[in-house]
Symmetry: C2
Subunit: 338 residues, 2 copies
Amino acid sequence: MEGEAVVENKRIIFKGYIDGIPKETDMEVKSGGEGVGRSGGEEPLPLLRSLHARAHAPILRLLHPPFPSRLGFGVSRVVDSDHPDFSAGDIVTGITGWEEYSVITRTQQLMRKILRQDDIPLSYYVGLLGMPGFTAYAGFYEVCSPKKGDYLFVSAASGAVGQLVGQLAKLHGCYVVGSAGTNQKVDLLKNKFGFDEAFNYKDEPDLDAALKRYLPKGIDIYFDNVGGSMLDAALLNMRVNGRIAVCGMVSEKSLSNPRGIHNLSNLIYKRVRMQGFLQSDYLHLMPRFLEDVGQLYKQGKIAYVEDMSNGLESAPAALVGLYSGKNVGKQVVCVCPE
Amino acid sequence: MEGEAVVENKRIIFKGYIDGIPKETDMEVKSGGEGVGRSGGEEPLPLLRSLHARAHAPILRLLHPPFPSRLGFGVSRVVDSDHPDFSAGDIVTGITGWEEYSVITRTQQLMRKILRQDDIPLSYYVGLLGMPGFTAYAGFYEVCSPKKGDYLFVSAASGAVGQLVGQLAKLHGCYVVGSAGTNQKVDLLKNKFGFDEAFNYKDEPDLDAALKRYLPKGIDIYFDNVGGSMLDAALLNMRVNGRIAVCGMVSEKSLSNPRGIHNLSNLIYKRVRMQGFLQSDYLHLMPRFLEDVGQLYKQGKIAYVEDMSNGLESAPAALVGLYSGKNVGKQVVCVCPE
């Protein structure tokens, strides 16, 4: 592929500033040939065909405002490439757009070739074996300092991160409790993922009381995917020398009404370590993660649930659904069936 | 001393529940012989004469409600003792009452004999060389992971903890900025304790802007003695891989109106570690602390300022003064001049 390449493309764009929780009408599908070309003289860049894209909530907060229309994490197939590291037909993961075709601009940094394994669906590389799974893996082993017998609580437990955190913790010998927002998800946690206990936080007017009921001895590790009032309740229930891995702040994402945290003084009396982290700081562990978690999955020692929506046009509804907790398991958009 | 010993005693008691910030009228001086006796058959306990007592704010929060009337940290002289470890005339520090005489009940755990040094006033053992100094020492070296060149910010910087944190950080090669609540204290920080910069937070309507002005490159270490809105502003200014040592939450102490924290999501993006701690977890370092800080003081490498009020009757006003920031340096009550 040389010089300018133009293909008919279809993508999702955000029309403007998002006030709080996004609505489907904030986004639209746009068609055209623009944006997939590249100018000569630069590093040769592969043209990709999107296969699976991730519907991911926190990205809105990170990019807000102003709001770029082309960013997301996906699995793609290389259509054409002059780049020595990529050939037509390669399957890659990395930051691409919510779009049918992408020309990637920073290959080294963001793209990773996938060595396909027959018994692992490609969509898993945006979930269990992608950034969310790796977030769970790095967060649990590198941030939580887990010990056998620890009491672990994880919020948003049925999401792609939470699922794996809980299951890794069970394999590590922890007692695991998770919270989720529907009874269906709670059922999944207990019966599919093997959590010791799980509860629907929407049925709990008093989160502190709920945590005391499910974790009467307190919490050694809180893997926090939500922030807000759940974090505040967890702070009241931490055990001495407890650890809080701060992974997500979903409930702070509606910027119009962020809820303040009031119980941080418990960090002192309980000598709690609260650690924010990004998976990107642990990329040296990626090969070990793919090997470990891939093996555990193939051996049936961990389960994974994803919620697949079909077609690029379904992406806005899938994204909006995240905010109401509609999805069960990792929300993935299938852009193009193989 | 055998059996029951009764001496005429004078002490400060708290009359009842304290609603928010304590007032002088919440306390009263009480005289009588009760409470200094002991029954036979128990471990022989020394009778102590109080010399210096610490006026300390956080204790109110820890004990609230109900509120015991006899608790504090002080320096005392042993008046009489059958206990093998203590003899009449020994100088000790530990948890005693705001009272002229104390019978201590858990000697091993709480009392420590002081080997007097001529050039160090005894009152320093409730400050620079007591629990506050040791809190600074353990917190800075064991919790903050300091490196030469780090940008350190400390709040309530002219207090007994803050003074020493800033000076240890300067000796360690950090750039040090402190906040305090009066211009007199700011002057002290810059001209007596050698801070690089200091500011009066009461003159700063926008704490975030103040921190950006004094620490334009951000904060590697925030030694937090106050919590509240200063913590929230510091969270906005943390550098990647920053550390927050959570030592005090003074501004949460008025229980009627605690301010929520809103910027914890910065922990994630900046990968910040926030660690609560208590000095009592580091007591194995006490001998090294006394040696190190004692030497630094004698060599003139660190300074120390205390605010002495005279007589047990002055204790309530001294305690109340802490909440308005009236004291300059460590507030100490001289109960009985030697």
